[in-house]
Symmetry: C2
Subunit: 304 residues, 2 copies
Protein backbone atom coordinates (compact mmCIF):
# COMPACT_ATOMS: atom_id res chain seq x y z
CA UNK A 1 0.00 0.00 0.00
CA UNK A 2 2.75 2.42 1.00
CA UNK A 3 4.55 1.85 -2.32
CA UNK A 4 2.18 4.30 -3.89
CA UNK A 5 3.89 7.04 -1.90
CA UNK A 6 7.29 8.71 -2.14
CA UNK A 7 9.63 6.21 -0.44
CA UNK A 8 12.13 8.96 0.35
CA UNK A 9 9.82 11.36 2.15
CA UNK A 10 10.29 10.22 5.75
CA UNK A 11 14.02 9.80 5.31
CA UNK A 12 14.22 13.36 4.01
CA UNK A 13 12.34 14.70 7.03
CA UNK A 14 14.72 12.88 9.37
CA UNK A 15 17.78 14.09 7.46
CA UNK A 16 16.88 17.71 8.19
CA UNK A 17 17.57 17.15 11.91
CA UNK A 18 20.62 19.32 12.55
CA UNK A 19 24.09 18.37 13.76
CA UNK A 20 23.59 20.00 17.15
CA UNK A 21 20.56 17.89 18.02
CA UNK A 22 21.56 15.65 20.94
CA UNK A 23 21.80 11.91 20.25
CA UNK A 24 18.83 11.15 22.50
CA UNK A 25 16.65 13.87 20.98
CA UNK A 26 17.53 12.60 17.52
CA UNK A 27 16.59 9.06 18.54
CA UNK A 28 13.34 9.89 20.35
CA UNK A 29 11.97 12.64 18.10
CA UNK A 30 13.15 10.86 14.96
CA UNK A 31 11.32 7.69 15.98
CA UNK A 32 8.22 9.70 16.88
CA UNK A 33 8.10 11.36 13.46
CA UNK A 34 8.75 8.05 11.71
CA UNK A 35 5.90 6.35 13.57
CA UNK A 36 3.50 9.23 12.86
CA UNK A 37 4.34 8.95 9.15
CA UNK A 38 3.92 5.17 9.16
CA UNK A 39 0.56 5.57 10.87
CA UNK A 40 -0.65 8.13 8.31
CA UNK A 41 0.39 5.99 5.35
CA UNK A 42 -0.92 2.77 6.89
CA UNK A 43 -4.46 4.08 7.41
CA UNK A 44 -4.29 6.50 4.44
CA UNK A 45 -5.25 9.32 6.74
CA UNK A 46 -7.63 11.72 5.01
CA UNK A 47 -7.37 15.49 5.02
CA UNK A 48 -10.55 15.72 7.11
CA UNK A 49 -9.26 13.19 9.62
CA UNK A 50 -5.93 15.00 9.88
CA UNK A 51 -7.73 18.29 10.52
CA UNK A 52 -9.94 16.63 13.15
CA UNK A 53 -6.73 15.43 14.78
CA UNK A 54 -5.27 18.95 14.74
CA UNK A 55 -8.44 20.31 16.31
CA UNK A 56 -8.36 17.54 18.89
CA UNK A 57 -4.72 18.20 19.81
CA UNK A 58 -5.51 21.89 20.24
CA UNK A 59 -8.51 21.02 22.45
CA UNK A 60 -6.30 19.12 24.90
CA UNK A 61 -4.30 22.14 26.00
CA UNK A 62 -7.35 24.39 25.87
CA UNK A 63 -9.18 22.13 28.35
CA UNK A 64 -6.20 21.93 30.70
CA UNK A 65 -5.85 24.09 33.80
CA UNK A 66 -3.34 24.14 36.66
CA UNK A 67 -5.38 21.42 38.39
CA UNK A 68 -6.58 19.56 35.30
CA UNK A 69 -4.00 17.97 33.05
CA UNK A 70 -5.82 16.71 29.97
CA UNK A 71 -2.61 15.79 28.16
CA UNK A 72 -1.82 13.45 31.03
CA UNK A 73 -5.35 12.02 30.95
CA UNK A 74 -5.30 11.39 27.19
CA UNK A 75 -1.99 9.59 27.51
CA UNK A 76 -3.56 7.44 30.22
CA UNK A 77 -6.62 6.59 28.11
CA UNK A 78 -4.42 5.34 25.27
CA UNK A 79 -2.35 3.23 27.70
CA UNK A 80 0.79 5.31 27.34
CA UNK A 81 1.44 6.14 30.99
CA UNK A 82 1.03 2.50 31.94
CA UNK A 83 3.44 1.46 29.20
CA UNK A 84 6.01 4.09 30.20
CA UNK A 85 5.71 2.83 33.77
CA UNK A 86 6.49 -0.68 32.58
CA UNK A 87 9.46 0.49 30.51
CA UNK A 88 10.86 2.40 33.47
CA UNK A 89 10.28 -0.15 36.23
CA UNK A 90 10.15 -3.63 34.76
CA UNK A 91 12.76 -5.73 36.57
CA UNK A 92 13.38 -9.23 35.29
CA UNK A 93 14.27 -11.63 38.11
CA UNK A 94 15.03 -15.34 38.33
CA UNK A 95 12.86 -15.92 41.39
CA UNK A 96 10.26 -13.90 43.26
CA UNK A 97 9.41 -10.54 41.80
CA UNK A 98 9.20 -7.27 43.67
CA UNK A 99 5.78 -5.65 43.97
CA UNK A 100 4.63 -4.38 40.57
CA UNK A 101 4.54 -0.68 39.95
CA UNK A 102 1.58 1.10 38.43
CA UNK A 103 0.93 4.61 37.20
CA UNK A 104 1.17 7.69 39.38
CA UNK A 105 -1.93 9.32 37.92
CA UNK A 106 -2.72 13.01 38.27
CA UNK A 107 -3.85 13.07 41.91
CA UNK A 108 -0.70 12.59 43.98
CA UNK A 109 0.14 15.51 46.23
CA UNK A 110 3.57 16.40 47.60
CA UNK A 111 1.87 17.80 50.71
CA UNK A 112 0.45 14.70 52.39
CA UNK A 113 1.24 14.82 56.12
CA UNK A 114 3.04 12.13 58.11
CA UNK A 115 0.63 10.32 60.42
CA UNK A 116 1.27 7.81 63.21
CA UNK A 117 0.93 4.07 62.67
CA UNK A 118 -2.55 3.14 63.83
CA UNK A 119 -3.87 6.53 62.71
CA UNK A 120 -6.48 7.21 60.06
CA UNK A 121 -6.53 9.08 56.78
CA UNK A 122 -10.31 9.41 57.04
CA UNK A 123 -10.65 13.04 58.20
CA UNK A 124 -14.07 13.92 56.80
CA UNK A 125 -17.32 11.91 56.75
CA UNK A 126 -17.65 9.60 53.75
CA UNK A 127 -21.28 8.43 53.52
CA UNK A 128 -21.38 4.84 52.34
CA UNK A 129 -17.65 4.39 52.79
CA UNK A 130 -16.35 1.20 54.38
CA UNK A 131 -13.59 1.88 56.93
CA UNK A 132 -10.79 -0.61 56.59
CA UNK A 133 -7.83 -1.58 58.72
CA UNK A 134 -4.96 -1.83 56.25
CA UNK A 135 -1.76 -3.40 57.50
CA UNK A 136 1.22 -5.34 56.32
CA UNK A 137 4.95 -5.62 56.06
CA UNK A 138 7.60 -4.28 53.70
CA UNK A 139 10.27 -6.88 52.95
CA UNK A 140 13.53 -7.14 51.07
CA UNK A 141 13.28 -9.09 47.79
CA UNK A 142 16.54 -10.91 48.36
CA UNK A 143 16.62 -11.55 52.13
CA UNK A 144 12.90 -11.62 52.96
CA UNK A 145 13.63 -9.45 55.99
CA UNK A 146 11.50 -6.49 57.03
CA UNK A 147 12.56 -2.98 56.02
CA UNK A 148 12.49 -0.71 59.08
CA UNK A 149 11.59 2.91 58.35
CA UNK A 150 10.14 2.28 54.89
CA UNK A 151 7.57 5.01 54.12
CA UNK A 152 4.19 4.44 52.49
CA UNK A 153 2.49 7.50 51.02
CA UNK A 154 -1.19 6.67 50.43
CA UNK A 155 -3.92 8.59 48.63
CA UNK A 156 -7.40 7.61 47.57
CA UNK A 157 -10.72 9.05 46.41
CA UNK A 158 -13.58 9.26 48.88
CA UNK A 159 -16.73 7.16 48.71
CA UNK A 160 -18.15 9.66 46.18
CA UNK A 161 -15.25 8.92 43.80
CA UNK A 162 -13.60 12.32 44.27
CA UNK A 163 -10.21 13.33 45.64
CA UNK A 164 -9.85 16.14 48.18
CA UNK A 165 -9.03 18.89 45.73
CA UNK A 166 -11.82 17.89 43.35
CA UNK A 167 -14.34 18.11 46.20
CA UNK A 168 -13.60 21.13 48.41
CA UNK A 169 -17.21 21.35 49.66
CA UNK A 170 -17.00 17.93 51.33
CA UNK A 171 -13.32 17.29 51.91
CA UNK A 172 -10.55 19.10 53.76
CA UNK A 173 -7.12 19.34 52.19
CA UNK A 174 -5.28 16.04 52.76
CA UNK A 175 -8.43 14.10 53.54
CA UNK A 176 -7.67 10.51 52.55
CA UNK A 177 -3.97 11.25 52.18
CA UNK A 178 -1.13 10.43 54.53
CA UNK A 179 2.37 9.07 54.95
CA UNK A 180 3.22 6.27 57.39
CA UNK A 181 6.63 5.06 58.50
CA UNK A 182 7.12 1.32 59.11
CA UNK A 183 8.26 0.18 62.54
CA UNK A 184 11.52 -1.60 63.37
CA UNK A 185 10.21 -4.82 61.80
CA UNK A 186 8.94 -3.22 58.60
CA UNK A 187 5.29 -3.30 59.67
CA UNK A 188 2.68 -0.59 59.15
CA UNK A 189 -1.03 -0.23 59.91
CA UNK A 190 -3.60 2.51 59.47
CA UNK A 191 -7.25 3.10 58.67
CA UNK A 192 -8.51 3.98 55.21
CA UNK A 193 -11.62 3.31 53.10
CA UNK A 194 -12.34 0.41 50.85
CA UNK A 195 -11.97 2.32 47.59
CA UNK A 196 -14.78 3.18 45.18
CA UNK A 197 -14.74 2.91 41.39
CA UNK A 198 -15.10 6.23 39.64
CA UNK A 199 -15.39 7.75 36.19
CA UNK A 200 -12.80 9.95 34.57
CA UNK A 201 -14.22 13.40 33.82
CA UNK A 202 -16.00 12.98 30.50
CA UNK A 203 -16.64 16.65 29.69
CA UNK A 204 -13.16 16.67 28.23
CA UNK A 205 -11.08 15.61 25.25
CA UNK A 206 -10.61 12.26 27.04
CA UNK A 207 -14.39 11.88 27.08
CA UNK A 208 -14.55 12.64 23.36
CA UNK A 209 -11.92 9.98 22.65
CA UNK A 210 -13.62 7.39 24.85
CA UNK A 211 -16.94 7.96 23.07
CA UNK A 212 -15.25 7.58 19.67
CA UNK A 213 -13.80 4.27 20.90
CA UNK A 214 -17.08 3.11 22.49
CA UNK A 215 -15.25 2.61 25.78
CA UNK A 216 -16.45 3.24 29.32
CA UNK A 217 -14.66 5.91 31.39
CA UNK A 218 -14.42 3.87 34.60
CA UNK A 219 -11.39 3.24 36.71
CA UNK A 220 -11.71 0.22 39.00
CA UNK A 221 -11.67 1.13 42.68
CA UNK A 222 -8.10 1.59 43.85
CA UNK A 223 -5.80 2.88 46.54
CA UNK A 224 -2.64 4.67 45.45
CA UNK A 225 0.61 3.85 47.20
CA UNK A 226 4.08 5.33 46.88
CA UNK A 227 6.59 3.32 48.86
CA UNK A 228 10.11 4.55 49.51
CA UNK A 229 13.00 3.25 51.58
CA UNK A 230 16.68 4.13 51.72
CA UNK A 231 18.77 1.79 49.60
CA UNK A 232 15.70 0.32 47.87
CA UNK A 233 14.11 0.96 44.50
CA UNK A 234 10.91 2.84 45.33
CA UNK A 235 7.56 1.54 44.18
CA UNK A 236 4.66 3.71 43.04
CA UNK A 237 1.64 1.50 42.62
CA UNK A 238 -2.10 0.98 43.03
CA UNK A 239 -4.10 -1.84 44.61
CA UNK A 240 -7.56 -3.00 43.56
CA UNK A 241 -10.34 -4.91 45.39
CA UNK A 242 -10.81 -8.34 43.83
CA UNK A 243 -14.59 -7.83 43.52
CA UNK A 244 -14.37 -4.78 41.25
CA UNK A 245 -16.21 -5.14 37.90
CA UNK A 246 -13.73 -2.98 35.97
CA UNK A 247 -10.51 -4.89 36.67
CA UNK A 248 -10.16 -6.19 33.11
CA UNK A 249 -11.25 -2.99 31.37
CA UNK A 250 -9.62 -0.28 33.48
CA UNK A 251 -9.85 2.82 31.31
CA UNK A 252 -6.17 3.63 31.97
CA UNK A 253 -4.88 0.01 31.83
CA UNK A 254 -3.10 0.14 35.19
CA UNK A 255 -4.21 -3.19 36.76
CA UNK A 256 -1.68 -6.00 37.22
CA UNK A 257 -2.41 -9.41 38.71
CA UNK A 258 -0.34 -9.03 41.88
CA UNK A 259 -2.05 -5.71 42.66
CA UNK A 260 -5.50 -7.25 43.13
CA UNK A 261 -6.26 -7.64 46.85
CA UNK A 262 -8.88 -9.16 49.16
CA UNK A 263 -10.83 -6.98 51.60
CA UNK A 264 -12.17 -9.26 54.39
CA UNK A 265 -14.74 -8.64 57.10
CA UNK A 266 -13.24 -7.78 60.49
CA UNK A 267 -14.81 -8.10 63.92
CA UNK A 268 -13.95 -6.43 67.18
CA UNK A 269 -12.40 -3.28 65.78
CA UNK A 270 -14.72 -0.30 66.45
CA UNK A 271 -12.93 1.73 63.80
CA UNK A 272 -13.22 -0.69 60.87
CA UNK A 273 -15.58 -3.16 59.20
CA UNK A 274 -13.01 -4.55 56.76
CA UNK A 275 -9.46 -5.84 57.03
CA UNK A 276 -6.82 -5.65 54.31
CA UNK A 277 -3.46 -7.26 54.66
CA UNK A 278 -1.08 -5.89 52.07
CA UNK A 279 2.59 -6.79 52.00
CA UNK A 280 5.14 -5.13 49.75
CA UNK A 281 8.40 -6.52 48.40
CA UNK A 282 11.10 -4.04 47.42
CA UNK A 283 14.30 -4.70 45.48
CA UNK A 284 17.56 -3.22 46.75
CA UNK A 285 18.85 -0.41 44.53
CA UNK A 286 21.98 -2.46 43.91
CA UNK A 287 19.98 -5.39 42.46
CA UNK A 288 19.67 -5.13 38.70
CA UNK A 289 17.77 -8.33 37.95
CA UNK A 290 18.92 -11.09 35.65
CA UNK A 291 18.50 -8.98 32.54
CA UNK A 292 20.20 -5.66 33.12
CA UNK A 293 17.96 -2.71 32.58
CA UNK A 294 18.86 -1.68 29.05
CA UNK A 295 17.40 1.76 28.96
CA UNK A 296 19.67 4.36 27.46
CA UNK A 297 21.36 6.56 30.02
CA UNK A 298 20.99 9.48 27.64
CA UNK A 299 17.82 11.39 28.53
CA UNK A 300 15.89 13.77 26.28
CA UNK A 301 18.28 16.51 27.14
CA UNK A 302 16.87 19.85 26.28
CA UNK A 303 14.17 21.25 28.49
CA UNK A 304 10.96 22.04 26.67
CA UNK B 1 14.38 -5.22 23.06
CA UNK B 2 10.59 -5.23 23.24
CA UNK B 3 10.59 -8.82 24.50
CA UNK B 4 11.33 -7.50 27.95
CA UNK B 5 7.81 -6.05 28.00
CA UNK B 6 4.36 -7.60 28.31
CA UNK B 7 3.61 -8.83 24.76
CA UNK B 8 -0.13 -8.71 25.42
CA UNK B 9 -0.41 -5.11 26.58
CA UNK B 10 -1.13 -3.36 23.28
CA UNK B 11 -3.51 -6.10 22.18
CA UNK B 12 -5.41 -5.68 25.43
CA UNK B 13 -5.74 -1.93 24.92
CA UNK B 14 -7.09 -2.48 21.42
CA UNK B 15 -9.52 -5.16 22.60
CA UNK B 16 -11.27 -2.68 24.88
CA UNK B 17 -12.53 -0.75 21.85
CA UNK B 18 -16.28 -1.28 22.00
CA UNK B 19 -18.64 -2.91 19.52
CA UNK B 20 -20.26 0.37 18.57
CA UNK B 21 -17.00 1.95 17.44
CA UNK B 22 -17.26 2.48 13.68
CA UNK B 23 -14.98 0.39 11.46
CA UNK B 24 -13.00 3.42 10.33
CA UNK B 25 -12.58 4.77 13.87
CA UNK B 26 -11.42 1.35 15.01
CA UNK B 27 -8.90 1.21 12.17
CA UNK B 28 -7.54 4.75 12.52
CA UNK B 29 -7.53 5.11 16.30
CA UNK B 30 -6.37 1.52 16.81
CA UNK B 31 -3.42 2.08 14.48
CA UNK B 32 -2.62 5.36 16.20
CA UNK B 33 -2.50 3.72 19.64
CA UNK B 34 -0.46 0.81 18.30
CA UNK B 35 2.12 3.14 16.76
CA UNK B 36 2.36 5.23 19.93
CA UNK B 37 3.02 2.05 21.92
CA UNK B 38 5.60 0.81 19.43
CA UNK B 39 7.33 4.19 19.59
CA UNK B 40 7.45 4.16 23.41
CA UNK B 41 8.86 0.63 23.55
CA UNK B 42 11.32 1.20 20.72
CA UNK B 43 12.98 4.22 22.33
CA UNK B 44 12.31 3.03 25.91
CA UNK B 45 10.62 6.34 26.62
CA UNK B 46 11.46 7.54 30.13
CA UNK B 47 8.98 8.90 32.65
CA UNK B 48 10.57 12.35 32.39
CA UNK B 49 10.41 12.29 28.59
CA UNK B 50 6.77 11.18 28.69
CA UNK B 51 5.91 14.02 31.07
CA UNK B 52 7.79 16.51 28.86
CA UNK B 53 5.63 15.21 26.01
CA UNK B 54 2.45 15.70 28.02
CA UNK B 55 3.49 19.25 28.87
CA UNK B 56 4.34 19.89 25.24
CA UNK B 57 0.98 18.59 24.00
CA UNK B 58 -0.79 20.84 26.50
CA UNK B 59 1.29 23.81 25.34
CA UNK B 60 0.08 23.43 21.76
CA UNK B 61 -3.55 24.18 22.55
CA UNK B 62 -2.62 26.82 25.08
CA UNK B 63 -0.63 28.73 22.43
CA UNK B 64 -3.42 28.48 19.86
CA UNK B 65 -5.90 31.27 19.20
CA UNK B 66 -8.65 31.77 16.61
CA UNK B 67 -6.01 33.11 14.19
CA UNK B 68 -3.08 30.96 15.30
CA UNK B 69 -3.36 27.20 14.91
CA UNK B 70 -0.33 25.70 16.62
CA UNK B 71 -1.60 22.14 16.22
CA UNK B 72 -1.64 22.70 12.47
CA UNK B 73 1.84 24.21 12.58
CA UNK B 74 3.30 21.33 14.62
CA UNK B 75 1.84 18.84 12.18
CA UNK B 76 3.49 20.80 9.36
CA UNK B 77 6.89 20.85 11.07
CA UNK B 78 6.88 17.06 11.43
CA UNK B 79 5.90 16.64 7.76
CA UNK B 80 2.42 15.32 8.49
CA UNK B 81 0.36 17.80 6.48
CA UNK B 82 2.58 17.25 3.46
CA UNK B 83 2.24 13.49 3.83
CA UNK B 84 -1.55 13.67 4.22
CA UNK B 85 -1.64 15.82 1.10
CA UNK B 86 0.29 13.13 -0.78
CA UNK B 87 -2.02 10.38 0.51
CA UNK B 88 -5.08 12.33 -0.56
CA UNK B 89 -3.94 13.57 -3.95
CA UNK B 90 -1.31 11.25 -5.36
CA UNK B 91 -2.52 10.05 -8.74
CA UNK B 92 -0.49 7.38 -10.48
CA UNK B 93 -0.54 7.82 -14.26
CA UNK B 94 1.08 6.02 -17.18
CA UNK B 95 2.13 9.21 -18.94
CA UNK B 96 2.27 12.87 -18.06
CA UNK B 97 1.32 13.74 -14.48
CA UNK B 98 -1.06 16.45 -13.41
CA UNK B 99 0.42 19.38 -11.50
CA UNK B 100 1.50 18.25 -8.03
CA UNK B 101 -0.47 19.38 -5.06
CA UNK B 102 1.09 20.84 -1.94
CA UNK B 103 -0.18 21.79 1.49
CA UNK B 104 -2.87 24.39 2.09
CA UNK B 105 -1.11 25.92 5.10
CA UNK B 106 -2.87 28.12 7.64
CA UNK B 107 -3.14 31.34 5.58
CA UNK B 108 -5.77 30.66 2.97
CA UNK B 109 -8.84 32.90 3.23
CA UNK B 110 -12.31 32.13 1.90
CA UNK B 111 -12.82 35.86 1.30
CA UNK B 112 -10.38 36.61 -1.51
CA UNK B 113 -12.12 38.75 -4.14
CA UNK B 114 -12.41 37.96 -7.83
CA UNK B 115 -10.22 40.26 -9.90
CA UNK B 116 -10.03 40.78 -13.69
CA UNK B 117 -7.35 39.08 -15.77
CA UNK B 118 -4.54 41.60 -16.13
CA UNK B 119 -5.29 42.99 -12.68
CA UNK B 120 -2.97 43.03 -9.69
CA UNK B 121 -3.13 41.56 -6.21
CA UNK B 122 -0.59 44.17 -5.04
CA UNK B 123 -2.87 46.62 -3.21
CA UNK B 124 -0.44 48.07 -0.67
CA UNK B 125 3.20 49.16 -1.07
CA UNK B 126 5.71 46.36 -0.54
CA UNK B 127 9.17 47.93 -0.16
CA UNK B 128 11.78 45.73 -1.80
CA UNK B 129 9.13 43.61 -3.50
CA UNK B 130 9.62 42.62 -7.14
CA UNK B 131 6.41 43.02 -9.17
CA UNK B 132 5.93 40.07 -11.49
CA UNK B 133 3.69 39.36 -14.45
CA UNK B 134 2.46 35.85 -13.82
CA UNK B 135 0.68 34.13 -16.67
CA UNK B 136 -0.03 30.74 -18.10
CA UNK B 137 -2.54 28.21 -19.26
CA UNK B 138 -4.62 25.53 -17.55
CA UNK B 139 -4.81 22.38 -19.62
CA UNK B 140 -6.53 19.00 -19.51
CA UNK B 141 -4.20 16.11 -18.59
CA UNK B 142 -5.68 13.81 -21.20
CA UNK B 143 -6.47 16.10 -24.15
CA UNK B 144 -3.90 18.86 -23.65
CA UNK B 145 -6.63 21.40 -24.40
CA UNK B 146 -7.16 24.59 -22.44
CA UNK B 147 -9.75 24.67 -19.65
CA UNK B 148 -11.98 27.72 -20.09
CA UNK B 149 -13.27 29.23 -16.86
CA UNK B 150 -10.80 27.49 -14.55
CA UNK B 151 -10.32 29.60 -11.43
CA UNK B 152 -6.99 30.27 -9.75
CA UNK B 153 -7.15 31.52 -6.17
CA UNK B 154 -3.75 33.01 -5.26
CA UNK B 155 -2.36 34.20 -1.93
CA UNK B 156 1.11 35.17 -0.86
CA UNK B 157 3.05 36.95 1.88
CA UNK B 158 4.31 40.46 1.23
CA UNK B 159 7.98 41.39 0.83
CA UNK B 160 8.26 41.50 4.63
CA UNK B 161 7.26 37.81 4.86
CA UNK B 162 3.85 38.53 6.39
CA UNK B 163 0.33 37.83 5.19
CA UNK B 164 -2.38 40.49 5.33
CA UNK B 165 -3.93 39.41 8.59
CA UNK B 166 -0.56 39.08 10.31
CA UNK B 167 0.34 42.64 9.33
CA UNK B 168 -2.69 44.94 9.70
CA UNK B 169 -0.52 48.08 10.08
CA UNK B 170 0.89 47.71 6.58
CA UNK B 171 -1.61 45.62 4.66
CA UNK B 172 -5.31 45.95 3.86
CA UNK B 173 -7.52 42.90 4.04
CA UNK B 174 -7.07 40.85 0.86
CA UNK B 175 -3.79 42.52 -0.07
CA UNK B 176 -1.89 39.92 -2.12
CA UNK B 177 -4.96 37.74 -2.46
CA UNK B 178 -7.26 37.30 -5.43
CA UNK B 179 -9.16 34.94 -7.67
CA UNK B 180 -8.82 34.97 -11.45
CA UNK B 181 -10.92 33.20 -14.04
CA UNK B 182 -9.23 31.82 -17.13
CA UNK B 183 -10.38 33.01 -20.53
CA UNK B 184 -11.97 30.91 -23.24
CA UNK B 185 -8.61 29.30 -24.04
CA UNK B 186 -7.70 28.52 -20.43
CA UNK B 187 -5.26 31.42 -20.13
CA UNK B 188 -4.80 33.73 -17.16
CA UNK B 189 -2.50 36.64 -16.33
CA UNK B 190 -2.13 38.98 -13.38
CA UNK B 191 0.45 40.88 -11.37
CA UNK B 192 1.88 39.62 -8.08
CA UNK B 193 5.20 39.78 -6.24
CA UNK B 194 8.15 37.48 -6.52
CA UNK B 195 7.68 35.77 -3.14
CA UNK B 196 9.96 36.17 -0.14
CA UNK B 197 11.22 33.43 2.17
CA UNK B 198 9.99 33.77 5.75
CA UNK B 199 10.31 32.19 9.15
CA UNK B 200 7.54 30.39 10.98
CA UNK B 201 6.74 32.11 14.28
CA UNK B 202 9.31 30.71 16.70
CA UNK B 203 7.79 32.00 19.95
CA UNK B 204 5.65 28.92 19.92
CA UNK B 205 5.63 25.15 20.53
CA UNK B 206 6.77 24.78 16.91
CA UNK B 207 9.78 26.94 17.74
CA UNK B 208 10.54 24.75 20.76
CA UNK B 209 10.40 21.63 18.61
CA UNK B 210 12.57 23.13 15.88
CA UNK B 211 15.23 24.13 18.42
CA UNK B 212 15.21 20.61 19.91
CA UNK B 213 15.76 19.27 16.38
CA UNK B 214 18.41 21.89 15.51
CA UNK B 215 16.38 22.85 12.45
CA UNK B 216 15.85 26.29 10.92
CA UNK B 217 12.29 27.70 10.85
CA UNK B 218 12.39 28.95 7.25
CA UNK B 219 9.93 28.32 4.51
CA UNK B 220 11.29 28.87 1.02
CA UNK B 221 9.63 31.76 -0.80
CA UNK B 222 6.36 30.61 -2.33
CA UNK B 223 3.08 31.58 -3.90
CA UNK B 224 -0.02 29.65 -2.89
CA UNK B 225 -2.45 28.56 -5.58
CA UNK B 226 -5.81 26.84 -5.36
CA UNK B 227 -7.05 25.89 -8.81
CA UNK B 228 -10.58 24.72 -9.43
CA UNK B 229 -12.53 23.87 -12.56
CA UNK B 230 -15.83 22.12 -13.13
CA UNK B 231 -15.36 18.44 -13.96
CA UNK B 232 -11.69 18.52 -12.90
CA UNK B 233 -9.88 17.41 -9.75
CA UNK B 234 -8.91 20.66 -8.07
CA UNK B 235 -5.29 21.36 -7.21
CA UNK B 236 -4.12 23.20 -4.11
CA UNK B 237 -0.44 23.85 -4.45
CA UNK B 238 2.53 26.17 -3.99
CA UNK B 239 5.25 27.32 -6.38
CA UNK B 240 8.82 28.21 -5.44
CA UNK B 241 11.49 30.37 -7.15
CA UNK B 242 14.37 28.20 -8.33
CA UNK B 243 16.95 30.48 -6.67
CA UNK B 244 15.62 30.02 -3.13
CA UNK B 245 18.18 28.69 -0.60
CA UNK B 246 15.61 26.71 1.42
CA UNK B 247 14.16 24.49 -1.33
CA UNK B 248 15.76 21.32 0.04
CA UNK B 249 15.14 22.06 3.72
CA UNK B 250 11.66 23.63 3.70
CA UNK B 251 10.61 23.50 7.33
CA UNK B 252 7.20 22.07 6.37
CA UNK B 253 8.47 19.74 3.57
CA UNK B 254 6.09 21.03 0.91
CA UNK B 255 8.46 21.45 -2.08
CA UNK B 256 8.16 19.09 -5.06
CA UNK B 257 10.32 19.20 -8.18
CA UNK B 258 7.60 20.27 -10.60
CA UNK B 259 6.63 23.17 -8.34
CA UNK B 260 9.99 24.96 -8.69
CA UNK B 261 9.69 27.82 -11.20
CA UNK B 262 11.87 30.36 -13.00
CA UNK B 263 11.29 34.10 -12.55
CA UNK B 264 12.84 35.88 -15.57
CA UNK B 265 13.58 39.57 -16.19
CA UNK B 266 10.95 41.32 -18.30
CA UNK B 267 11.27 44.49 -20.34
CA UNK B 268 8.69 46.88 -21.62
CA UNK B 269 6.05 46.27 -18.96
CA UNK B 270 5.78 49.32 -16.69
CA UNK B 271 4.00 47.25 -14.03
CA UNK B 272 6.55 44.45 -13.66
CA UNK B 273 10.27 43.73 -13.57
CA UNK B 274 9.93 39.93 -13.67
CA UNK B 275 7.98 37.46 -15.76
CA UNK B 276 6.70 34.09 -14.61
CA UNK B 277 5.08 31.65 -16.95
CA UNK B 278 3.27 28.99 -15.00
CA UNK B 279 1.10 26.37 -16.64
CA UNK B 280 -1.12 23.97 -14.76
CA UNK B 281 -2.30 20.51 -15.79
CA UNK B 282 -5.53 19.22 -14.25
CA UNK B 283 -6.92 15.70 -14.36
CA UNK B 284 -10.60 15.20 -15.15
CA UNK B 285 -12.59 14.04 -12.14
CA UNK B 286 -13.48 10.90 -14.07
CA UNK B 287 -9.81 9.94 -14.52
CA UNK B 288 -8.62 7.60 -11.76
CA UNK B 289 -5.06 6.94 -12.93
CA UNK B 290 -3.58 3.55 -13.64
CA UNK B 291 -3.60 2.53 -9.99
CA UNK B 292 -7.02 3.23 -8.59
CA UNK B 293 -7.01 5.40 -5.53
CA UNK B 294 -7.22 2.82 -2.77
CA UNK B 295 -8.20 5.01 0.09
CA UNK B 296 -11.06 3.65 2.15
CA UNK B 297 -14.35 5.34 1.49
CA UNK B 298 -15.13 5.05 5.19
CA UNK B 299 -14.21 8.33 6.90
CA UNK B 300 -13.54 8.88 10.59
CA UNK B 301 -17.22 9.11 11.18
CA UNK B 302 -17.95 10.68 14.50
CA UNK B 303 -17.48 14.37 14.83
CA UNK B 304 -15.00 15.35 17.52
Amino acid sequence: MADRFDPKFTGHVLETIGPNCTPRNRLVLGALMRHVHEFAREVELTVDEWMMGVTFINSIGQASTPIRNEGHRISDVIGLESLVDEVAHKLVTDGADPTSSSILGPFWSPNAPFRENGGSIIIDPAPGGKPTLMHGKMTDLLTGKGIPGAVVDIWQASANGKYDFQDPDNQSPNNLRGKFKCDENGNYHFYCLKPTAYSLPTDSPAGVLLRLLDRHPMRPAHIHLMITADEYRGCTTQIYPNDDPYLSTDTVFAVKDDLVVDFKPIEGDPKAILDLEYNVILAPKSYKGVTPHTQSSIGLESKL
